[in-house]
Symmetry: D2
Subunit: 440 residues, 4 copies
């Protein structure tokens, strides 16, 4: 089989996986079907596979769905194509998978991270939207792969296949990390704290799209903001607003007071910051003093320090607003990410590799354009703290509609580009005798 | 048939009606089944019956449900026991009915008002709750007669029967007004503006319960607060809270600002006032600047003037808050009631009548205890403006749980008490040769 | 000397006193000159006189001026006509005086309260304002008797003279209470807690004017609102608003947050309430995060319970707002008064007495018209708690301008009316053998 | 006279001028004495001098003091050493001066800007503060040269002397711009709009200190934030807070609402922004609904566009908050500055010149460190718009205490450094045949 034919067949494989995942999307910590298929495939290829408890610290997860939702989805997964060999280990929101290929030869530990989760978005089911036209749109109501993680998972599987096939041309160890719950920045911390990158010399997280054109690659993306996501409940006491207004404890007023306080958190001299109350729901009836108010909040900072400042201010504001109105407040951290800057020498290597790829026309070594938040930064910071190098690489593709849009879609050509680029990167890094060579 | 037996049979009749209405509750402007049964019954008795457009000014209704909800309910009513003779005239939220008994003899025009609507409350379906135990609990999800209007309608029908049977002992004209949408104070204004009480000399609105013990009667209830109900929408513009916070127009912040402003409306020197934001729902996602916010608001005042002051302040606050945050605001008045004081001489007559009733042990002539708001005040004020007398009479009953509670229920004995009291009142008033006699 | 001549001379005496006090006004707890003149005069008449520490509980005073202001004023008083015999005992803000006339005969203990303090208002110094025209306008800048307490003190002294002269026609004991610092409701509590009315059977506090016409008397004024006055300081930290906004702790924002919270304190179902932030001063420069904010706040309630509710809410709001913005808050109670209702049987006696006075044309037994707040209510409540009777009597007079106005003035005829009415009251009450006679 | 001796004498001259100005400080638009001395000296040197109306557009000034303050200061200046030759032209806040030296030879137009105004700060009058120890501390209460503009003026005069003496070694035209009211960014706009830099090819504004060490020079300072300063008055209506709360229009509440809104203005994606309410004063008494509230506000932006966004949001907030509370708002723009970036090629020339100066050890070509705001940016932007080059140069000096501190002082050596650097710059630029040479 010549290379062209091989790549065509690989492309078909990638497309099949991607379309299967797209049709069966699972939100964060629910990726039971997806992860079971991944784990089984890696196992079949000959990888040493770790999953669930082995690769995630249970209490470091954030924003885990309610237990009954997890249970219901487990049943769904079982009945909809999950691989029974791995399913049990992935229940209760422990859906991380790591595949390890040990060449047996000395060399660096290289890790690639892909994410697997979908979004709570209702996919548009109408002509002109490719998944609809081609019959692979989401079967799960209000759940959609609208950020490309279906493609990421497929790329991770394709990469696994190539690496195993070309194992003899590699050195050291390659780890393939399939992360749950990147949306809402909820899952990476639990894998980092379980130690999955503690021995890693080179770490590469990947995303497709995000505004980068097809056949363009950003070798190092430096723009991620540190962030904290909070779910907040103010608890007061209901009372009849006409007959006994003084007997209530008004959660709606406490929440409104907090809102104005939150948006008023001072700017920080050391860098950009953000705060948003995206959702506020309060009250039970027009003539009742509202006993409950629920808020979805996020803070961001150009650096982890700036975000920590905003977060600390937010906690004071929430607690003070509750005290003002004699209510109680419950604050849950449901997601968090730090900031991280790619290692320049690793960026240089990937830039060079990308230039050599037939699927890449243009390479941007380092981009500082803000691109929201990502919890791959936990892996990156851990690797860097322990002396390794880390980066976040973006593989461009043209989009039918923006990320998180109900008509989001991308050119499936990017799947092959991704596999090719990452495989070339693995080979280049495996050739580095000593990572000190390229240390910065 | 002796009187005891007659009353027993009447009681059975009242109970049947009440239980039928309880089982088939309809919210305000949706009382199509109820009103069609009432209208047909009155017609059968020999009343001249007016309904829909004849007795309601369409544009004076407030808080009318969406057209598709009206349409769906119309179909439900047709298939669930509505009387086809009248149903068509009651569609599209025009559910008022007036029955007229003209004795042909000179005498006063006497009007009784009862209301027919249920609440958006899910009835408790468990043992110990009489409607459940006796098998007449609500068949309509999230709809319940939890304020006794099922009983009011039954009393109105029982009164109609007695009046017609005893027609020869009466003089003048009796009008029986079956009002829609008292909950939320939305329906009375439209009937008042259609002129249904313009010729009325004596007007009596009735309620059961409201904290008054069984076999007690309040002849004149003076405690109603004037009120305005508003549904408010702030309309801004969504934007990504991380990438483009300056491109949003934050409806959630505008709403929170309005909330603090509304609760801060100054007290009025001339009497008690109230303001409440009972419900606030805003935003579409944690990381999106909220494009929309919805509020349910009510104001109240000890007098209509005080309420008008609070209402005017509220409008300034809502419009100003919208302007502050470059959003737009849409304010719908979805309910309104004025304040009204019972006519003392009519209260005296009813007190005397009540004292003579075998079903009444104790009479409170005038009560000023606040009891929320009621739009029967529109009828009262119109009657008084045109020289008539008006009152609001409460017929006591013991309750299983408070009004608007999911286990609300009352002793059905009150139905007979109500019919008896109102019938005696009609006879006493018909005997007044000239209402000037008892003018205050 | 006949009575007419006597009364003319008494009028001249009253006028002289009043004009002297008017020209030398002293604000609350500073009435050192005034009180020393009163004490010496009572002593000369033969009263047993108590002052300072004997009649005031030092730590129960509220809103006492700074020590250096007290010291400066002490010097001023010494050099401007204070009586050295008593001055030393009145220093440091201990300016209460009580004169006791014990007839030696059995009978009730009767107490009259007058107040002595002026206001921090700059008197208008221009023609048409009688004190200016007649040369007795205030010599103290920004200090003015603009509420008639100069007249109250003169009435108290005139009453002292008559009582002593007519001692033989009285029974029991008469106490004349000269209270400091009624303005801001700061002084009465300290005298009450020192026990000066603990043995009192009949207590009468007096005010002139307050909207009551000349030659009219209100025997019992029931309209006073309970109140609390607070001085509040938020303490934050300054920082440069451009260079280091995150380093500040913004007292101005904390104060603004508190303001919106305070006005939003819920209405109370049991009666009227009020809250006001009358003064807010914050910040040190346009480009500095404000390190300090100062607020003057008052709460009021139709009853003491309602005021206590508002006060407790206010404290939560102030502390919560401070916590929200990481600032500290210092709250000083600088004035307080309870609510109190006159004893009906005492009101009846005074009404009868007033009817008999040649200086009174019209008597209003009980008025419920709100007239602000008064701390004489502390005396009233204490007397009533211990079984005595108490009232607050208003002696009408026509005013040149309203109370607290820079052109406030009254017809000096009211001084004689006051002395006459209170003397007649003392005689009538002394004739009551047993106060149980008129107990309610 | 050799150069060393010449420089020593020049240093003495500079020190004398600086100390005289320091001792007689004048705040913005009040620099009548200072400007009259400058204008007379330039005239005596042989400059063509323009002042007042000729060099300032009257209506483009911002934050001009009240007329009576201007009048009083005019009298003070006349009696305290102002030069009568020029004083009349500088009255009424028209205190700008421009001196022109036309060499008569072809060549560029080169402009230097210095500013002359002092601050409303009370200088510390105690040992250890050099101006106090050496007897030249401020004679004007609450007025102090605490930002070094006394030195700037002296540098401008010294530069004038050197330029005239070395006129033959120059080409083209040199303009010396003495600007009023830089503090609060109030004066530059009026000179720019009068056209004083419309013909300028090279423009250099100068400041001493600002955190730059002695013998260091920043050739181009790029860190200035665009800014707007506003004085805002909310006008409501007083009412008695106890008796008639509903009759007031609460300016204090409107102001507090605006404060929370202002701090909540969204961050801008395009760069840093700031907003501060530095001062809030409201209300007239504890028990009065506040009729007036006064605020000092400033906004800033990394670019003029960002500041314009913040400013526009602030205006909406102020107007909306007024409308919410039925008050009126008056907004005065009392200062404004744009952002501006130094021209790189001019920065290069000055860097080279500075390197050659014996008074300079270290040159920082371009600094982006934020250093507050400056209205020299108006001149810079105008020059650049018309094809010229512009920069803002900082001449380092060690400070006794920070700028705007009551013990601010600097090493007077910087005066000579400044004159030398600017004179060298003038010579270097005069040698540029065509400014196109160094165009960027």
């Amino acid at each position: 089989m010549d290379e062209i034919q091989y790549m065509e067949e690989l492309h078909q494989l990638l497309q099949n996986w991607r379309r299967d995942f797209h049709q069966n999307p699972e939100i964060g910590f629910m990726e039971m079907r997806t992860a079971s298929i991944v784990a089984s495939y890696l196992e079949d290829l000959g990888y040493k596979v770790h999953a669930g408890e082995e690769v995630m610290k249970r209490e470091a997860r954030m924003g885990v769905p309610e237990q009954d939702a997890l249970d219901r989805h487990f049943e769904w997964a079982r009945q909809n194509g999950a691989d029974e060999r791995w399913l049990e280990r992935l229940k209760d929101g422990m859906t991380g998978v790591v595949g390890v290929l040990d060449t047996g030869r000395p060399g660096p530990v290289i890790a690639f991270r892909v994410d697997m989760d979908a979004l709570e978005i209702q996919e548009e089911l109408s002509p002109g939207h490719l998944p609809f036209d081609e019959g692979f749109s989401s079967v799960n109501e209000n759940t959609m792969h609208a950020c490309g993680h279906d493609g990421h998972t497929a790329i991770g599987m394709g990469l696994a296949k190539l690496l195993m096939e070309e194992k003899d041309s590699l050195n050291g160890v390659v780890k393939l990390i399939f992360q749950p719950a990147e949306e809402g920045t909820r899952g990476a911390k639990s894998m980092t704290e379980a130690g999955v990158v503690d021995d890693v010399d080179f770490f590469i997280a990947t995303h497709i799209g995000t505004g980068v054109t097809a056949r363009h690659v950003v070798a190092g993306n430096a723009g991620f903001l540190a962030t904290t996501k909070m779910d907040v409940v103010f608890k007061g006491k209901a009372a009849h607003a006409g007959a006994a207004p003084n007997e209530g404890q008004n959660a709606l007023v406490a929440a409104s007071t907090a809102v104005l306080g939150l948006y008023g958190i001072p700017r920080h001299a050391d860098g950009a910051s953000r705060v948003n109350v995206g959702v506020l729901k309060a009250g039970s009836g027009r003539n009742i003093i509202a006993p409950l108010a629920f808020l979805q909040i996020e803070t961001r900072g150009e650096t982890s320090e700036v975000n920590e400042y905003i977060r600390a201010q937010a906690l004071s504001i929430l607690q003070g607003a509750a005290a003002m109105h004699q209510t109680e407040v419950d604050i849950q951290i449901v997601g968090e990410a730090v900031s991280s800057t790619p290692s320049e020498s690793l960026v240089d290597i990937i830039s060079e590799v990308a230039t050599s790829s037939p699927y890449v026309d243009h390479v941007i070594p380092m981009s500082t354009q803000s691109a929201g938040s990502e919890d791959a930064t936990y892996f990156m910071e851990r690797v860097k703290e322990r002396g390794g190098l880390a980066t976040y690489t973006i593989i461009g593709t043209d989009l039918a509609a923006g990320h998180h849009h109900e008509r989001f879609d991308y050119d499936e050509e990017v799947l092959l580009t991704g596999v090719d680029l990452l495989f070339r990167t693995a080979k280049a890094l495996a050739a580095v005798k000593d990572e000190k060579e390229c240390q910065e």
